[in-house]
């Protein structure tokens, strides 16, 4: 059961924990790398073989060191591994711009459907693992070549699988992929050079934070970041509220890799969570998710209270029905000065205000329509959608993968979570045209239906899992063969996800899809 061992071990390292880590000292990190790596790797004037000729993310380095432990017998304590990963990610990481477009892999957005321009890259690399895992590495040609040999040496069936067996897989990998990767993802880059020369990012202070957790709703608050024990270490205290008014509180720690890769480890109202954010110029962007169930997560933006950093991050809620009044929570940093609302929206009163949050009571005209800017003094970036009626409902995400699990098997169930997005028809009054605008996430009544005839025949609705009618959270069935199912199939399925939104006497319907798949047996930090 070697595979189970690997999956379990990688699972336990699925994110970069910061708990109990000792402050790393450079000298000791280098000494540690020499002591742990040089038994197999060789040091020359060019550095240490293999290791010195790659750049990657903290998760990428973690996976490399973990593989040395699991496959090649490296003995290293968790604390020592953290020190090594930190040292390598700091000195041989990626510039922020080098991670653009592929951060979803670090953020554990495992529902992402990838699309790459290069068909060759998609077929040769991204058919077994995410393409992001490759795009988050930089190597010279010789190192990409080593990687090809490693792949076929470690996974000999690679060249026999679909999209491998119909071509000279090894020849194409060496002769075509190696030059392509070395040219697109080179070890040396201007972006990395410039990033290393830049002044350190400011991290300490008060961060105004706004997020949305699918299946639960929006939230906002202030995250206070103070110095922790050691370089790049911080403690954090988050105090905020859900949009429904319930309080939300989190306490924890964070570690910065490569000058900007924020990895937080905190407990939010009793539940352990992780943060994978990128810090750049007074902004944090990323995802915060449950430590033990990483499909449950929130998109997060945050902005630091500091001079010259005035911005509106979000308005909670970000929509308002024409002719109605509401209380709006404008979240941001440096919120000083007059509140600018869209035309047709009148300020009725200010409930409270601070530099991070302005709460106002507003009233809109019956004729107010469209998505318009909301600003506070010099702080801009917010918007408010004004609508008279919902024209269409979209299920978001349109497609998700849930995974059966539990039932005595080594992997837990993976939920799928959906939001109902309301859309307005726009000026032309017709839904499905270019001037449609997004209103926002609205409550819906959720259900599932068979996606196709096979799903009808196999009774997927009965077996594949349960949709919570109120929250849009789908919990898949147990893993393992199900003797009462046709052909003893496991509880896999293919379901239509249906959101019904009430509007007067009318019910608007939106549809998405959930594939209920087998467990992900091998679940490394980067998919």
């Amino acid at each position: 059961m070697k595979i189970r061992t690997l999956a379990t071990a990688m699972g336990s390292m699925a994110a970069l924990g910061v708990v109990l880590a000792a402050p790393p000292a450079h000298a000791s990190a280098e000494a540690l790398i020499r002591a742990k790596c040089l038994p197999c790797h060789t040091e020359t004037e060019d550095g240490i073989s293999r290791i010195s000729h790659q750049r990657k993310t903290p998760e990428g380095w973690l996976m490399s060191v973990a593989r040395m432990q699991i496959v090649h017998g490296l003995k290293i304590t968790d604390e020592e591994r953290r020190t090594v990963v930190k040292h390598l990610a700091d000195r041989q990481g990626l510039a922020p711009s080098e991670t653009t477009g592929v951060r979803y892999a670090m953020e554990r957005r495992l529902n992402t459907v990838e699309a790459f321009e290069s068909e060759k890259f998609t077929k040769m690399c991204a058919r077994c693992h995410s393409g992001a895992r490759v795009m988050l590495q930089r190597r010279p040609a010789a190192e990409w070549e080593h990687l090809v040999h490693f792949h076929l040496g470690q996974f000999p069936t690679t060249e026999y699988q679909a999209l491998g067996r119909d071509r000279d897989w090894f020849g194409i990998a060496l002769k075509e992929m190696v030059p392509e990767l070395a040219s697109k993802l080179p070890l040396q880059s201007e972006a990395w050079k410039q990033w290393q020369a830049r002044a350190p990012q400011t991290v300490k202070g008060e961060w105004s934070l706004s997020g949305h957790l699918t299946g639960r709703g929006g939230f906002s608050g202030v995250m206070k970041v103070t110095a922790g024990e050691g370089r790049d270490r911080y403690t954090l205290a988050f105090d905020g509220r859900w949009d429904d008014g319930r309080p939300m509180q989190g306490r924890g720690r964070a570690l910065i890799y490569t000058g900007y890769e924020w990895r937080g480890d905190l407990v939010v109202d009793g539940t352990p969570m992780r943060q994978v954010f990128a810090v750049e110029d007074g902004m944090m962007r990323g995802r915060m998710f449950l430590r033990d169930q990483d499909e449950v997560g929130a998109d997060v933006v945050a902005s630091l209270q500091q001079a010259g950093n005035s911005r509106v991050l979000a308005v909670h809620p970000a929509y308002l029905k024409a002719g109605e009044g509401a209380e709006l929570r404008i979240v941001g940093s440096g919120l000083a000065g007059e509140v600018t609302l869209p035309q047709g929206v009148k300020l009725v009163g200010t409930v409270k205000r601070s530099a991070t949050e302005v709460v106002v009571r507003v009233q809109s005209d019956a004729a107010a329509r469209g998505v318009h800017a909301v600003a506070v003094g010099k702080a801009s970036g917010g918007s408010l959608a004004l609508y008279d009626s919902i024209a269409a409902v979209k299920v978001s995400p349109a497609f998700a993968v849930a995974r059966i699990g539990g039932n005595g098997t080594p992997t837990a169930k993976v939920e799928a979570r959906f939001d109902a997005e309301a859309w307005a028809a726009g000026a032309d009054g017709k839904a499905g045209t270019e001037d449609d605008f997004r209103i926002g996430v609205v409550p819906a009544k959720w259900s599932v239906e068979p996606f196709d005839e096979a799903a009808v025949r196999d009774q997927d609705v009965e077996f594949a899992g349960l949709m919570d009618a109120a929250s849009g959270v789908f919990v898949p069935g147990d893993a393992g063969p199900n003797p009462v199912r046709r052909m003893s199939a496991s509880n896999v399925g293919n379901l239509k996800v249906v959101a019904e939104v009430a509007q007067g006497g009318e019910r608007l319907r939106g549809e998405g899809q959930v594939i209920v798949a087998p467990p992900r047996w091998n679940n490394p930090p980067l998919p």
Partner: protein, 378 residues
């Protein structure tokens, strides 16, 4: 580094299935010394945790169970011409064993890896010669250096079956990459499937194309796709491999309007005659197919259903629903019974004419997984 995992989809599905069915039944009963009876027809098949079962087909019951050494996987078997020695590729695609079925004694053992820092795997690519004197295997080696891997050129290795438990190759020739299953012709040659179906001269290593696969360029059809890792030794001596393709509507070769088709590559190991043709529309996936021993115009297909095609008419003529998925279809010598193996730990027995299920044999232990069983008369 012998214990290093070998990954890939094959291994993963094998491991997954093993997790589910392990511990269903106790392994191996105390019948190891029971000799096979000459003239009786048997089915041998390997399963988890590491058994080689012999099923008596007359009584449709487990006759004996031999424990196997080392790790399981893939459990691909070949029966020797003496109908007494079973060869099995196991130990995570790394070792070929010879087992005396009368006594369950290990008589032959060949490591695919040559040398301490080499790791070689055979992707179900082995067989025994028609005279039983030699075993052939294609090995895919990787040299494990201190800080890097180097993939080596595959080799066609020849072993003397009398070499015992530390067998070393007596001849080694270059082999193409992506080689998989093979069968021995009665003229002493070996037919090896890979990028093409090659005829191998086992004395010189010379390979000629017996049937083109990748090189079969037809303006009327899309290139073939072949996933076939089940080297079944059939009563008719047909070495059959299924392929899928698509027939274009016209010269525009538009895949969107092309008709997907199933076909087979066939070498008759007795006569050396080769044949490649489509036998029906592709409407479902099969892992294995089998020419009927009774009617050469019939071919069976198996995965989620057991099906029967009229080759001349290129038509699906019958289909049976199954209790679960099975991978490998075997037949008795008479061609009256079909045995569905692979996947879990039960063999489903079907009437070859009606496809109706007529029996079942439950094996001691867990999944048969991706292994290949064989039917033979002792």
């Amino acid at each position: 580094m012998k214990k290093t995992m070998i990954g890939g989809a094959l291994r993963r599905s094998a491991a997954a299935l093993a997790c589910l069915a392990a511990g269903v039944l106790p392994a191996a009963a105390a019948n190891e010394a029971r000799p096979l009876e000459p003239g009786s027809e048997y089915l041998m098949v390997a399963n988890y945790p590491n058994n080689l079962n012999v099923v008596d087909l007359a009584s449709e019951s487990v006759y004996k169970t031999c424990p196997l050494p080392d790790a399981f996987g893939p459990g691909t078997t070949q029966i020797a011409p003496d109908r007494r020695t079973a060869y099995i590729l196991n130990n995570r695609f790394g070792t070929i064993y010879g087992i005396d079925l009368d006594t369950c004694r290990l008589t032959f053992r060949a490591e695919m890896s040559q040398g301490d820092n080499e790791r070689a795997k055979s992707i179900a690519s082995f067989t025994v010669s028609a005279d039983g004197k030699e075993v052939y295997a294609v090995q895919n080696p990787t040299t494990i250096h201190r800080d890097h891997y180097r993939v080596g050129a595959p080799r066609f290795a020849v072993y003397d079956t009398r070499a015992g438990l530390e067998a070393k190759p007596v001849r080694v020739f270059p082999a193409p990459r992506q080689a998989n299953i093979m069968q021995a012709g009665e003229d002493g040659s070996v037919y090896l499937a890979g990028p093409n179906l090659y005829k191998v001269d086992v004395n010189t290593g010379a390979m000629t194309v017996a049937l083109p696969i990748r090189d079969w360029q037809r303006s009327t059809h899309a290139p073939l796709d072949v996933l076939y890792i089940w080297p079944v030794q059939t009563p008719t001596r047909d070495f059959t491999i299924l392929y899928t393709t698509a027939k274009y509507q016209d010269d525009k070769q538009d895949m969107a309007t092309a008709e997907y088709q199933y076909g087979y590559l066939n070498v008759n190991l007795k006569s050396g005659e080769t044949e490649a043709r489509e036998f029906g529309p592709l409407t479902e996936i099969y892992f294995t197919g089998l020419r009927s021993p009774k009617d050469r115009n019939i071919v069976y297909g198996l995965l989620h259903r057991l099906t029967k095609y009229d080759i001349a008419q290129q038509k699906l003529v019958q289909a049976a629903e199954l209790d679960h998925t099975y991978y490998t279809v075997l037949s008795n010598q008479a061609g009256s019974r079909l045995y569905l193996t692979g996947t879990f730990n039960d063999i489903s027995i079907h009437d070859a004419d009606t496809l109706a299920k007529v029996g079942q044999v439950k094996l001691p232990g867990g999944d048969m997984s991706l292994g290949t069983g064989q039917v033979f008369v002792r």
